[in-house]
Amino acid sequence: MATKDQFNTQAEALQKGDSRSAERIFDHFSGPIYAFFMARIRHKETAQDLTQEVFLKVIKSIEQFDRKSGDFTAWIWQIARNSAIDYFRHKKPSYLADLPDEGTNISEERVKSDESAKVREIMDIVESFSPEEQELFQQHFVADISYTELARITGKTESALRVAIHRLRKKLIPYLND
């Protein structure tokens, strides 16, 4: 049985302009949402722009949020996913090709380190997975979203998600042990 989303109450307080709720919402979602964009787009400034955009859209549309229609966690993540979809729909084709090396923006100072090379390699590998697996990787491994939250976001049961993530993990293991 799904537990109650604690952010529904925060969202309702945000509708009334409560800054405490705004702080809690931002502190909880900003990191994972940024990581989600970063994993998908691999460009720091774009990920920052899109993250800001999500929170601006939250302010713009918060009046429309209704807990009867769904949880706030699912609602905000839907905004993030739509922003990513819009980005890929409108982006200039050569944009990422402008980067000298994919993922260099992840952390330019450490780009030469083995660890960052490994991260890039794994992300490249994940790009060959199915879109559902890619999103699961971005949300669970990169954005570190819990099973409970993922269930809210995706509308799947936690057990189904555990199975899917277990399979994804099995797929990744051969590349992790190199």
Binding site: L14, K16, G17, D18, S19, S21, A22, E23, F26, D27, S30, G31, Y34, A35, M38, A39, K44, T46, A47, Q48, D49, L50, T51, Q52, E53, F55, L56, K57, V58, I59, K60, I62, D86, Y87, H90, K91, K92, Y95, I106, S107, R110, E115, S116, K118, V119, I122, F141, V142, D144, R169, L172, I173, L176, N177
Partner: protein, 236 residues
Amino acid sequence: MINFIKEQLAVWKLKRSLHKYIRPDRAFLQSARTRFITLAQQSRFGQNAHSDAKSRILDSDKAESRRAGVTVRAKHPRSWKYATIAIVAVLSMTSGMAVFADASNVPVTHPLYSLKRLSEQIRLGLSTPEQQVELHQIFAQRRLEEASELETNHDDRPITPESQTRINGLDNDFQKETEHGLDKTQDPQVHAAARAKFCQDILDIIQQDAPTNPLPSPMVDHIKTRCADAVKTPGN
């Protein structure tokens, strides 16, 4: 069992590496947080916050368009700016051309002739009654000169019906200017001497112009009748 632990360790290391390299800048998070909270606080004030949020959204739309390689400009402020510049430019050019047309007394066939007439009306509107009397005399003389010029242009060939219509129109305009000038001389602010001078000048003009552009007799007679008293009694 060992394999399971190894796998868990590998996944844990992967997650740790991902978090290390994909975490947001502290400065970015701080500024985005402040902005979000500020907007949230403002939202309780309704419209102001909404418009501010809208402008913020517009900024973010710009950022998105920038990423997409499209240059988007804020529509209304810029379009007003361009419209204002265009209006000022058109007005400046028009007034400049009107002044030029008036100052250089362009002929009736000139493209700027209508601007010259417009400029004359403006000058009349901005003048005192006594100055208006003088201007009516100047403009009456101009109409006759314009009519004479048109006739001179047709010295070597017959006047076309179109030109004849124009000449008749200019003659009528001469009469109108004269009538308006005479009406204006009745203004208490206009001295009798100014009225006498106006009539004298008009009669001289008619006389000078007679060989090239003979005005219809009833018109001349009417002007002469109206001016007769004034010329006779300059001291009034």
